[in-house]
């Protein structure tokens, strides 16, 4: 069976959930055929609002719908929600604590063909500092769909970060997701790889490679970058003594930053961060080679694990 993309799984789950929950309304900023909120729009045209190329306005309209008791899912490209609409998100969503769900599509490098203007490699850092915000990054298509009802039924602002692409499948249908609860995908005692989003599948591949070298790597999926599952991370630090973080995001301010903050408040251990260096990226012909080119290859995780092990006392 061909893998479906994260956006398609999300789009189908949203349309299906629309049947169950009549309070869900959906907005888009002229990208519904990209974010695939169009599936919901086709089924519920009266509950879908296309605001045009005006992301800040879309967020404000969503705020009004939330004030009126609706559960708005506001869809747009991650780069635009987290930058152009950021003031709306801070003031009217987070500070005013309105029940708005920001669905940030085309995240990371997944819009490979449109280039750095469209890549979203700073967004986790932008939204993670917002008080009241919950930040969720699914690892694969199946998980993306699972979040729809959970996000809708949670009371408060959410940033759900979705890839345009089909990432490496990690989960099966028995998966149950809970906000703030990390998932141990592989046990191991030598080092812990903490990953989010598309880098979870790559981290599992890295762990297999490391096993062949006799290195026993634990793999944690942290889908909720905020609030962070600090207990699970500190336990891994204590038990394995070395940590690698992996994310399709700048190495500044994202998952790696969040993990470092949580460790320095407890008992720090050596930490290596796999992510995009502090730089802008480029256009490519496919997302996989683009990720590989910017430091997100499986081999980058493997070598980060070797480095952190060398630092482990």
């Amino acid at each position: 069976m061909a893998e479906i993309s994260m956006r398609e799984s999300y789009g189908r789950a949203l349309a299906a959930y629309g049947e169950i929950n009549p309070d869900v309304v959906v907005l888009d900023a002229d990208t519904s055929s990209s974010t695939l909120s169009c599936f919901f729009a086709e089924r519920f045209p009266d509950r879908f609002f296309n605001i045009g190329i005006a992301e800040p306005c879309m967020v404000d309209v969503a705020v009004g719908l939330a004030l009126g008791g609706k559960i708005p899912f506001a869809n747009a490209f991650a780069a635009l929600i987290s930058l152009r609409a950021m003031e709306q998100v801070r003031t009217c969503v987070c500070y005013a604590r309105t029940n708005v769900k920001l669905i940030a599509g085309y995240a990371g490098l997944s819009d490979f063909k449109d280039g750095p203007t469209h890549h979203a490699i700073l967004d986790i850092a932008m939204v993670r500092v917002l008080p009241e915000m919950t930040v969720i990054v699914p690892a694969d298509a199946l998980e993306a769909g699972k979040w729809v009802p959970v996000v809708a039924e949670y009371q408060g602002p959410v940033y759900l970060r979705l890839s345009r692409a089909a990432t490496i499948p990690v989960h099966n249908d028995s998966l149950q997701v809970e906000i703030g609860k990390g998932i141990t995908l592989r046990e191991g005692g030598d080092v812990t790889i903490i990953a989010t989003g598309s880098m979870v599948g790559r981290s599992l591949l890295a762990a297999e490679k490391l096993a062949k070298e006799g290195i026993d790597a634990r793999v944690l999926e942290i889908h909720t970058v905020k609030p962070l599952d600090v207990d699970l991370i500190r336990q891994a630090a204590e038990e394995t003594g070395a940590i690698v973080t992996a994310e399709e995001h700048s190495i500044i301010g994202g998952l790696g930053g969040a993990v470092a903050e949580s460790l320095c408040a407890g008992r720090p251990v050596p930490l290596e961060r796999v992510g995009i260096a502090d730089t802008f990226t480029c256009t490519a012909l496919d997302p996989e080679s683009l990720m590989d080119a910017w430091g997100l290859a499986v081999e980058d995780i493997v070598s980060a694990a070797r480095q952190v092990l060398a630092r482990k006392s």
Binding site: P56, D60, L67, G68, G69
Partner: protein, 278 residues
């Protein structure tokens, strides 16, 4: 044209005068606030809160209530003065505006102050948020109206016009915007900082119904609010020509009074002028 009895006009004019005195008192006491844009909105606020809006101060979350968003959130003093008089919170609280333990923030905060529909202060948000509230009313089958009070300087923000397009697209007839067109902003006259004219033409071009009034003439304010409620195919904007700092001679039309409090002598003179109008 609607008819409003003289007694109602006189009562609301007196309310407007009372609100002006109250907000100057609050700004003087706190040593901070925005007198100019509070004074210019007094008739509009009085007409809405003491006559037009369907509100129940005992139930600030009554689903059927009309919604008012003070998009020009810096005029918070006059909103607070009105809400306290209606009983949303004790009048005593007005004396503690801005204190650490007081719910009354520099700008309105929906989570802290009963009766505040939406947190505002950063200019430009109110109209688009109002469109969302009007869309929710339509989906929920509720009959409330949504009123958004905008500053004129605020209309320089692009997102205001994005919201205007949304309201027109969805023909949100239960949404009424009011522009407090006092012609003065923080740095100087609006026509020098960034001209808005033709403002009426702009709103018309955005497919809104436009009513143009003297925003200090209570009869015109009331008639415009009534007329807006009778337009059923599009949203209405009331462009209300006002005077910044209205009622206090030395504050009128002077941008220096956008956001500073009066000193002792200025306060005494301002109150005397406002009381003298009785």
């Amino acid at each position: 044209m609607s008819y409003h009895p003289e007694a109602l006009i006189a009562e609301l004019e007196e309310r407007a005068r009372e609100l002006r005195i109250a907000c100057l008192d609050m700004i003087y006491r706190r040593g901070a606030g925005h007198p100019g844009g509070s004074l210019s909105a007094a008739e509009i606020i009085a007409a809405l809160f003491f006559h037009k809006l369907r509100l129940d101060p005992k139930r600030p979350d009554w689903p059927e209530r009309d919604r008012f968003i003070l998009s020009k959130g810096h005029a918070s003093a006059i909103l607070y003065a009105a809400l306290a008089r209606l009983g949303f919170f004790p009048m005593e609280d007005l004396k503690h505006w801005g204190e650490l333990s007081c719910h009354l923030q520099g700008h309105p905060d929906r989570l802290k102050t009963p009766g505040v529909e939406m947190t505002t202060g950063i200019l430009g948000h109110g109209l688009a948020i109002g469109t969302g509230l009007a869309l929710a009313a339509r989906l929920n089958g509720l009959n409330y109206r949504v009123y958004v009070l905008l500053g004129d300087g605020e209309c320089q923000a692009g997102v205001v016009w994005e919201g205007a397009m949304v309201a027109a697209k969805y023909r949100l007839a239960k949404l009424t915007a009011i522009v407090d067109y006092n012609g003065v902003q923080l740095d100087g006259p609006v026509h020098e900082i960034m001209p808005l004219e033709p403002l009426v033409g702009k709103w018309r071009a955005f497919n809104w119904a436009v009513l143009e009034i003297n925003g200090h003439n209570m009869r015109q304010v009331l008639e415009a609010l009534d007329t807006a409620a009778e337009i059923h195919d599009r949203p209405t904007v009331i462009v209300a020509h006002t005077t910044k700092g209205k009622g206090v001679s030395f504050m009128e039309n002077d941008s220096r009074w956008h956001g500073i409090p009066p000193n002792d002598a200025q306060y005494a003179q301002a109150i005397a002028e406002l009381r003298g109008g009785a």
